[in-house]
């Protein structure tokens, strides 16, 4: 029997305590995995949306500027379209409404710019800019049980569904798209857009063009062509990441305290046994290694259980709450979860292990 097998065997002696400890830490790990899947999914989704259509980069309001508004005046769209190297610029206004009890994301875009969304019409046709018409993403249509020709009520106005589209992005496919002017009017935000999608000429240089746009509106506008750019320009993703890190840290601390408690109990119960191990010639270092190893076996097991729990849990939550959210599970996330489990095992096991290794053998042997 190898030493490792010995370490792996010991935590299973007290099954009730093992179960409690594993569940405690697994919940922490599951939280980390679930939050990780959400933030990773968010990134993937943003990236997909950035790359979705024909747009080469997206222009956004620089939120670190004086004004705290996220909107851009839509005369900027025309101005940008005239910058050297720009082939097409499209203003997009985003909003949302509750329709028949469902939260529906809305995007307003002029029909001539629909190509920029990368949306493929799978049924019906596009809308006309001057009519109360809209097109629905495939997932939104399925959820709301709507088909071409049906109507939707938005702000007391009836909108006719002229077509169903698909982009492949879960979040976009759960939205409705309608004429820019209509959505701006609905929100009483005439002449304002949130994003400007920009497509450049075939021979133009992406970096040069995007820098030219930023230079034209210093401090006001910023351009985004990657997830990194997005994170720099927009605090929301960073905020989600910080929050999930804080929750993860909390989970680790709670798990760590649980492990310290479990291992101290285990060492305490085995006082006599540890005295015997010293009597047969084990070095203090070996006893330390054994207890630490047992602690890591425990947390690593919790890590695997936690990953499973996290994946199944968050998938179930998203499914039952009907949220259009992209979840992404990566091997890196699994590795991170297991790494954290090992660290919790070492941190939580170190004190009980030192205590065990320092037990005076005669006193340990006298222990009843």
């Amino acid at each position: 029997m190898s030493f490792i097998k010995l370490m792996a065997k010991n935590p299973f002696r007290n099954k009730a305590r093992l179960t409690l400890a594993v569940v405690g830490i697994a919940i922490g790990i599951a939280t980390i995995v679930a939050l990780g899947m959400v933030t990773e999914g968010l990134k993937v989704s943003i990236e997909e949306q950035l790359k979705a259509g024909g747009a080469d980069f997206v222009v956004m309001k620089n939120t670190s500027s004086e004004s705290s508004s996220y909107t851009i005046k839509d005369n900027r769209v025309d101005e940008i379209s005239k910058i050297n190297g720009v082939k097409q610029a499209a203003g997009i206004y985003t909003s949302s409404r509750v329709v028949d009890g469902n939260q529906l994301g809305l995007a307003g875009i002029s029909v001539k710019d629909l190509n920029m969304l990368g949306a493929k019409m799978i049924q019906g046709n596009a809308y006309s800019d001057d009519k109360n018409e809209l097109i629905l993403g495939k997932l939104a249509a399925e959820k709301m049980k709507k088909k071409v020709g049906d109507t939707l009520t938005l702000n007391n106005d009836k909108y006719t569904i002229t077509g169903i589209f698909e982009t492949g992005n879960k979040e976009l496919d759960a939205t409705g798209v309608l004429p820019l002017k209509m959505l701006q009017a609905m929100d009483e935000n005439n002449g304002k857009v949130h994003f400007i999608y920009v497509k450049i000429n075939n021979n133009a240089d992406l970096k040069a063009v995007s820098q030219a746009v930023e230079k034209a509106y210093p401090g006001e506008l910023t351009t985004i062509s990657s997830i990194e750019d997005f994170q720099k320009a927009n605090d929301s993703l960073n905020m989600v990441e910080t929050a999930s890190m804080a929750i993860s840290l909390l989970a680790i601390i709670i798990g760590g305290i649980g492990i310290i408690n479990t291992m101290i109990m285990s060492v305490f119960e085995r006082t006599r046994e540890i005295g015997v191990l010293k009597a047969v010639g084990w070095k203090s270092r070996r006893i330390l290694g054994m207890i630490l190893g047992e602690s890591v076996v425990l947390t690593l097991l919790s890590g695997f259980v936690g990953i499973l729990l996290g994946v199944v849990g968050i998938e179930a939550i998203i499914m039952f709450s009907d949220m259009a959210m992209v979840l992404t599970f990566t091997p890196a996330l699994a590795l991170k979860a297991l790494g954290i489990a090992v660290i919790v095992g070492i941190i939580g096991g170190i004190y009980p292990a030192i205590r065990a290794s320092r037990l005076p053998p005669t006193e340990a042997l006298r222990y009843e």
Partner: protein, 222 residues
């Protein structure tokens, strides 16, 4: 170490509880290599303390103690000494309940440099020696008291010690099982030339030894 003494103890003193309890109060003993010695005395007289000092489980307050050529008052890390020279047998078998008989016997071999299969074959040899080969893969909880104590003997022999220290090895057994354990120990002493030091309450058991040392109030009686 000279004139064939494997244990040399001079004026050994040991107190507990900051000196409030004097467990050993000036012990002088020499034990020859290969000797079988029994230690008797009333409860609390210091027998176990003396045995634990010889096995380097505890350190002296004063005096000299040398075992198998090692000055135990000077050495810092005594685990190697215990591993190489000493085999302990306690009143209670102290086996690890979730490990098999075989695994319990292997326990002292970790860190001695033996390979996995060497450990197993050595352990099997020892388990055969205590006549438990049909129970090698059982857990101690499935064994009788006498069988458990036989496993403890096998474990004590794991690293081929020069001294076996037995603290009332038959104390928790009935006379039939006790006889069997004593028979094994005596055989070990006679055939393998192992030095055997055994604490006992039972004068008949003590008489099996070549010499009996009586301890009273932390001192050797003459």
């Amino acid at each position: 170490m000279n004139n064939g003494n494997i244990v040399e103890i001079k004026d050994l003193k040991k107190g507990y509880d900051k000196g409030r309890i004097i467990a050993l109060n000036g012990i002088n003993i020499n034990i020859k290599k290969g000797e079988f010695v029994s230690i008797i005395g009333p409860s609390g007289s210091g027998k176990s303390t003396l045995l634990n000092m010889i096995g380097a489980l505890d350190t002296a307050d004063r005096g000299l103690i040398s075992v198998a050529g090692n000055n135990l008052t000077e050495k810092k890390d005594l685990s190697d000494f215990r591993s190489k020279e000493i085999g302990f047998i306690f009143q209670l078998h102290n086996l690890i309940p979730n490990l098999t008989v075989l695994e319990n016997v292997i326990i002292p071999m970790y860190g001695t440099g033996l390979k996995g299969h060497e450990m197993v074959s050595r352990a099997i040899e020892l388990i055969k020696y205590v006549k438990l080969h049909d129970k090698a893969n059982r857990n101690p909880t499935e064994l009788s008291g006498g069988e458990r104590q036989r496993v403890a003997i096998a474990r004590a022999l794991a690293n081929n010690p020069s001294i076996i220290l037995a603290d009332e090895p038959t104390g928790s057994l009935d006379s039939k099982n006790g006889q069997m354990i004593l028979q094994r120990l005596k055989e070990l002493h006679e055939k393998e030339n192992v030095t055997l030091i055994m604490v006992t309450h039972d004068l008949k058991v003590a008489d099996m030894a070549q010499r009996t040392i009586e301890v009273l109030d932390g001192k050797v009686q003459n």
